[in-house]
Each structure stands twice: as structure tokens, then as C-alpha cells.
């Protein structure tokens, strides 16, 4: 936790959980896609589904997937901005069993055909938790720089990844593994202290049995 999570963020109103938190979840989706989307499917559940109109949650999520920050005044007109950028979006309400009251699922398609699917929750005061990425369970808050390492479940891969992280001078603050099935694909979620350089990410990508690495920088 950071003091500026409590006294902050500086944001466009009216709701830290339903506006600022929503911008942040949207931004994580943008980062995962790594480009501007051309299509977006946004599913709201719980309190998000009940009250999104009044809180501008729809505008906030759209602003986020266009990589806007919580204090960007264009959030007020995010629908118009999205249309002018040629983004086709569809908003719907849904139910997800056992999900946090402020949960959203987002599916994005990018210009170059990239896709990403994620689920996140706004847990109060503008803080968020990402719960799943492309069908894999994760749990990170994007308060630290976070590496998502998609890999094949082969002996020694985790050791190789953590060695490479250590060799780059980073300290691992948190590590999670999601491996739905032995011998198939798995996802490491690695939160690190301090800065992460692009070349560190490239090094990780070059490791055997690593399929892809996404760096989500701290919000």
C-alpha cells in the first residue's frame, strides 16, 4: 500500500471506485492489448451494473481502454472520443458468481488483430485488483511493476525466469503461478520492486518455453 492510494488519486469525479477505479481497470486492459483497440466488449456486474450511468463508469472504462489517466478531463466525453477514434464498443450487464461487487469483464481486439480478455474489480478508493487474464486466474493490484509470464509447463522454467529477474537486478515482491493443467500453458504473475527496463522484458521473452511476457507498470 502507498500513502497516495489513500490521499489520492487526483481524479475526475464523481466516484473513486466507480470512476477512477474503472479508468484504471480499463488502462490495464489497454496495456495487456498493447495497442489501441478497434473493438471493445465491456460487461458490468454487481454495483457497476446497477449504477454505472450515474457514476460515469461507462465513460471511465472507455477512457481507460484509450490509455487515459484518472485525471484526464476528456473522461467527461469519452464516448465521443472513442467514436472519433473509430472504436466500436458494446456495453452489457452480466453476473459473475462470487465476484466482487464492482467487477467488470473486458474483451478487446486491437488494430493488428491482438486480442485480450480480462476481469478486474474496483476495490475502493480507486484501487483495483485484476482477477483474470485471458482465462488464467491472476491476482495483482498494479501497485508494483508486474510481469505476466505466459509459459509452457516444463521443468526448470520458473527457475530460469526467476534467475533472469535476479540477474536484471530486480527483487521479487510477490510471485503467483496459475497452471490449470500439468504440461500445458501456465501464467506467472511476478510483482517486482523498483524499475523494470524494456531489455529485461526482452531477455525474459527469449528464455526457452516462455511464450510471452507482458509488463504492467505500476499505476
Amino acid at each position: 500500500m502507498d500513502i497516495f492510494d489513500i490521499i489520492g488519486p487526483v481524479m475526475i469525479g464523481p466516484s473513486s471506485s466507480h470512476t477512477a477505479g474503472a479508468v484504471r481497470i480499463g488502462r490495464i486492459a489497454y496495456k495487456l492489448l498493447n495497442e489501441l483497440p478497434i473493438r471493445a466488449e465491456i460487461g458490468l456486474c454487481g454495483s457497476f451494473a446497477q449504477t454505472y450511468k450515474g457514476h460515469g463508469t461507462d465513460k471511465a472504462l472507455l477512457a481507460g481502454i484509450m490509455n487515459m489517466h484518472t485525471d484526464d478531463i476528456r473522461i467527461r466525453n469519452a464516448q465521443e472520443v472513442a467514436k472519433s477514434m473509430g472504436i466500436q464498443y458494446h456495453l452489457y450487464t452480466t453476473q459473475i458468481k462470487g465476484a466482487h461487487p464492482n467487477t467488470v469483464e473486458i474483451y478487446l481486439v486491437g488494430k493488428s488483430g491482438n486480442e485480450c480478455r480480462m476481469q478486474g474489480a474496483s476495490v475502493g478508493g480507486g484501487n483495483i485488483e485484476i482477477r483474470s487474464v485471458n482465462g488464467m486466474e491472476v491476482e495483482f493490484k498494479a501497485q508494483q511493476n508486474t510481469l505476466l509470464v505466459l509459459h509452457r509447463d516444463v521443468k526448470g522454467t520458473i527457475a530460469a525466469v526467476s534467475n533472469s529477474v535476479a540477474a536484471s537486478g530486480m527483487n521479487i515482491g510477490n510471485f503467483q503461478l496459475c497452471r490449470p493443467k500439468k504440461g500445458h500453458e501456465g501464467l506467472m504473475t511476478i510483482e517486482v520492486d523498483g524499475d523494470v527496463k524494456e531489455e529485461d522484458v526482452i531477455k525474459l521473452k527469449s528464455l526457452p518455453n516462455v511464450i510471452n511476457v507482458v509488463l504492467v507498470r505500476a499505476l
Partner: protein, 290 residues
């Protein structure tokens, strides 16, 4: 960075011979491996956003996006000039809380402190105190660190989200944070700050989150004003040497339990309380047409 409990905060401050704000600033700088100046400047920037929000929210013609609220900050500021019952200082404090909350509802730029729904309370307490006592800006910036430290413990052991804990978690927490900060600004001890935090929070336990039409307007804006008055009352009592019989950490635990047992209808879903009053339902229809 984590403070596990208010007790830990007090013990650490005593051991290091620091105020809570100094301790918090130092701990934050160590955690993010940057200088205390950088952290201080970032907090000063937050104070400047608050000052700007007071100014922009106090104008006569401000209106929320829904059209439901706006103009009460201006109304209150005019009344404050006439001193009212409790004097200009108190009424200006309330003015600031309303102005910032109204500006938030108008999609203005504010500091969530700790949330947007409760963003008027710290400006209403800390900034009015700074002006009244003619304290340097530094005193208000440091007060935000104190407020933040108390907010952190509440976030860790209970919740700051109306959707999880009701309004006690939002306006209640902000008021408790403001009370603790006021005590430090007035020269009180960390222990007095803890008592002020406990007293303020106790007086808002069980407060439900029942926004009309799901908007952060009714009753949120007026609860910000009330949160400011509870913060001042709690700070005054603590500075007088009055102790909270229930220690702050136990009050926070009680708040968590109450939040957990609160029905969903009273946790920011717009399905209970004032939101389903006859007027609440009518306003929702008028705004959204369904």
C-alpha cells in the same frame, strides 16, 4: 508500506521520536526508494488540487452532470460571511466540504481522500484550519500524511469502499482521518490523534451508503459537511484529554464487522435507504427516465 494497527503507529512514532506525519513521510520515502522532498512535493500537489477544487466548487452557477445538485457551496459561503451561529471559521469549514463535493459531482478534478464520495472532508478540516490559524502550507501538507496514515490502517483492517462497508467506510473514515490530522495541527500528541480518530469513527458506525439514483450527490454532499463537524468535535474532545473508551483499533474492527453484516441494499447499490424513498425514486426516474 504498511501500518498494521493504530497501536503500531503510536509505538513507532514514540520510538523514533517523530510525529505521525514525519513517520509516514519517512516510511513512504524509504519504501519507494526516493527522497523525502519528492514525496513531500507530491503531497503538496494534492493540497493544491484541493485548494483549486474549493475555489471552483464555490461558484454560484455550478451544476452536477445530472442537474441534481450545485450551488450550495456558494450559498454556504455567503452565510459563513455573516458568521452564523458558530462563527465564520466553522461555517467556512462546512463551505469547503460542500464546495469540493459539488465540484466532484460536476466531474471536476479532485483528490480522492480517501474516496471521491468523501473528498470534501479533508479540505474542510485541514485547509480551513490552516487558514484560521494562519499556519504555513507545510503544516497542511504534513497533516495530509497524518490523515493518510490513519486511512491506511482503516483500509487494511476494514474498508474504504461504500460498496463494501457503507458510508461509514467513506465519510466515516475521512472524518476520522481529518480528526486525527486536526489534532496534530493543533499540537496534540499521537495518542490524542488516535483518540480523535476513534471518537469520529464511532459516531458514524453503521452509516449506510444509499445514494439517490446511484449518484455521488444525495446524501453524500451533505454527509461530507457533517463529517467535517464530527471531525472537529472529535478533535476538540481528544485535545481536551478525553479518551475513547474503545481503542481506535477495536473501533476499526467493529466497523469491519458492521460493514460485513450490512445488507447489500445499503452498500452503494442504490436499492435501499434514501435511494428508495418516494423522492429518491422520483428523482431517479427524472434523471434516467426508467
Amino acid at each position: 508500506m504498511e501500518f498494521d494497527s493504530i497501536q503500531q503507529l503510536l509505538t513507532m512514532a514514540e520510538k523514533e521520536k517523530l510525529t505521525i506525519s514525519e513517520l509516514t513521510l519517512q516510511t513512504q520515502a524509504q519504501q519507494c526508494e526516493c527522497s523525502e522532498e519528492e514525496i513531500y512535493d507530491q503531497m503538496a500537489e494534492n493540497l493544491h488540487v484541493m485548494l483549486e477544487a474549493i475555489k471552483n466548487g464555490s461558484v454560484k452557477d455550478i451544476k452536477s452532470t445530472s442537474g441534481l445538485t450545485g450551488g450550495d457551496g456558494w450559498r454556504m459561503s455567503q452565510y459563513a460571511k455573516k458568521k452564523g451561529i458558530l462563527g465564520e471559521f466553522f461555517n467556512r469549514s462546512i463551505t469547503y466540504a460542500i464546495a469540493v463535493s459539488e465540484y466532484n459531482a460536476a466531474m471536476g478534478k479532485i483528490v480522492a481522500s480517501p474516496t471521491a464520495g468523501s473528498c470534501g472532508i479533508l479540505p474542510g478540516t485541514i485547509i480551513s484550519m490552516m487558514e484560521e490559524r494562519k499556519l504555513p502550507e507545510k503544516s497542511a501538507v504534513m497533516a495530509l500524511f497524518t490523515a493518510g496514515a490513519f486511512g491506511m490502517v482503516i483500509a487494511k483492517n476494514a474498508s474504504l469502499a461504500g460498496a463494501e462497508g457503507g458510508c461509514q467506510a467513506e465519510c466515516g473514515s475521512a472524518s476520522a482521518m481529518g480528526a486525527a490530522a486536526l489534532v496534530e495541527m493543533a499540537g496534540g500528541t499521537p495518542e490524542m490523534s488516535a483518540n480523535a480518530c476513534a471518537i469520529a469513527l464511532k459516531n458514524q458506525l453503521g452509516l449506510v451508503c444509499d445514494p439517490v439514483a446511484g449518484l455521488v450527490e444525495v446524501p453524500c454532499i451533505k454527509r461530507n459537511a457533517a463529517g467535517v463537524s464530527i471531525a472537529f468535535t472529535a478533535a476538540e474532545m481528544a485535545l481536551a484529554g478525553i479518551k475513547s473508551v474503545i481503542p481506535a483499533d477495536e473501533v476499526i474492527e467493529a466497523m469491519r464487522q458492521i460493514g460485513e453484516t450490512m445488507p447489500c441494499a445499503l452498500r452503494e447499490t442504490g436499492q435501499g435507504g434514501l435511494a428508495v424513498s418516494a423522492t429518491g425514486i422520483r428523482l431517479k426516474k427524472e434523471i434516467f427516465g426508467d
